[in-house]
């Protein structure tokens, strides 16, 4: 004879108004609240974009020879040479143990005067190289609207940083930075860049009507 099944203890009759639910113990609530805040903070920090200058720019990109257009400017690179020596035409010759990137650029200005004082070469690893000021007479300068400046910029860059370098024509440098348009021009430097032994003499900059 089998034993009778053990009796399941009857649940005590509960009043209809009180529905049984799992209570979070009172002592644990502040801890859970804090954890929830921490998780939220971490999620926001991870998801938030890097507050770098790149964020405050609407970029217009173009390849070698093509115009990049923004409302107030257009720019293009017309030629790029990588050499070891540049002759400014006066004084000493600039001979580099690294690479000298000689880029000819055209910048057309519209609507407002442009200083064109924030133009640099940006490498794939985010280093910024300013144009050599020893050759500033060939370079960019204040340009009135309705005109295009034709300039030659010379940058000295470690040879191993050249692949995928680009020329950035950024908004004019001012005491306050804001949300503006800016131009990125691909210099067309591939994986292997050969430094030519020739000496280049940049022509002085010139201005034409656009």
């Amino acid at each position: 004879m089998t034993a009778p099944p053990p009796e399941v203890a009857a649940t005590p009759a509960t009043p209809a108004s009180s529905v049984p639910r799992r209570h979070v113990p009172a002592a644990l609530r502040p801890v859970l609240g804090l954890l929830g805040c921490v998780v939220l903070a971490v999620a926001v920090a991870v998801a938030a974009p890097d507050p770098s200058e790149q964020l405050r720019r609407r970029w217009s990109d173009a390849g070698p020879g093509a115009w990049a257009v923004t409302p107030d400017r257009s720019a293009r690179v017309t030629s790029v040479a990588v050499v070891g020596t540049v002759d400014p035409g006066y004084g000493d010759v600039l001979a580099s143990r690294q690479a000298l990137v000689v880029a000819q650029v055209d910048v057309a200005v519209r609507h407002r005067v442009a200083q064109l004082n924030h133009v640099y070469l940006r490498t794939a690893d985010d280093k910024e190289y300013a144009p050599r000021s020893e050759l500033s007479s060939a370079g960019l300068a204040q340009t009135q609207p309705g005109f295009t400046r034709h300039a030659t910029l010379v940058f000295e860059v470690p040879s191993d940083r050249l692949p995928r370098a680009e020329l950035v024509v950024d908004a004019d440098a001012a005491s306050v930075d804001g949300y503006t348009d800016a131009i990125r021009l691909d210099l067309g430097l591939g994986r292997t860049v050969r430094v030519s032994p020739e000496t280049v003499t940049p022509a002085p900059a010139s201005v034409t009507t656009t």
Binding site: V93, S96, Y120, E128, Y129
Partner: protein, 200 residues
């Protein structure tokens, strides 16, 4: 009342034992002082670098190549007697830096009259502009020596060697400016023989 022997010994031993830490400290301080540990840091910095040896700093790598004593400007016109320090400098920051940080380098003339306090940067060959990231380029610093001399100062014997003292930079955290770098105490120096290139 008979005092137990231990009770009589303990207070005196405790007093004697209390002096021991003090004596040890005095001996240690004396030892440190005797070996020069308490001497004032020398104005030329504790480290010694060689001519041509790269000195790695927080944001720069400097190489001292030589020192010339000249009495003309780079264009050839007469000037006050000047110690011209020839360097190679590499900026290791992320964007082109227009100037060599001021205060990184100064010159000490051992045993001789001191040079002027003002060290100025001048063009080095074809280079007069900025310092590009990780690109080594020549740099030249000049300081008038002796202090207060001008084109008419009578000639004094050139020092055989000078000490080119190098300081580093340290980022000073503050709530007002981003990237506020300050020059530190001297890091070290280079003993450099002086080439006398004066014309008068």
């Amino acid at each position: 009342m008979i005092m137990s022997p231990t009770a009589a010994r303990t207070p005196r031993r405790r007093t004697a034992l209390g002096w021991i830490p003090l004596v040890v400290v005095v001996l240690l301080v004396g030892l440190v002082a005797a070996t020069g540990g308490l001497a004032k840091a020398p104005g030329v910095g504790p480290r010694r670098f060689a001519v041509g040896e790269p000195v790695v700093l927080a944001r720069w790598v400097l190489v001292v190549d030589g020192v010339d004593l000249v009495d003309t400007t780079s264009y050839g016109s007469p000037s006050a007697p000047t110690l011209r320090v020839r360097l190679r400098a590499t900026w290791t920051g992320d964007a082109t830096e227009p100037l060599l940080s001021s205060g990184l380098v100064h010159v000490v003339v051992p045993g001789g009259p001191p040079p002027a306090a003002d060290v100025s940067s001048v063009a080095a060959g074809a280079y007069s502009g900025g310092f590009d990231p990780d690109v080594e380029r020549p740099a030249t610093l000049e300081v008038v020596w002796p202090d207060g001399a001008d084109e008419t100062t009578p000639r004094v014997p050139a020092p055989a060697t000078v000490q080119v003292v190098v300081r580093d930079e340290r980022e000073a955290q503050n709530f007002l400016y981003a990237d506020q770098w300050q020059v530190t105490d001297p890091l070290g120096h280079v003993d450099v023989p002086v080439t006398d290139s004066r014309t008068r």
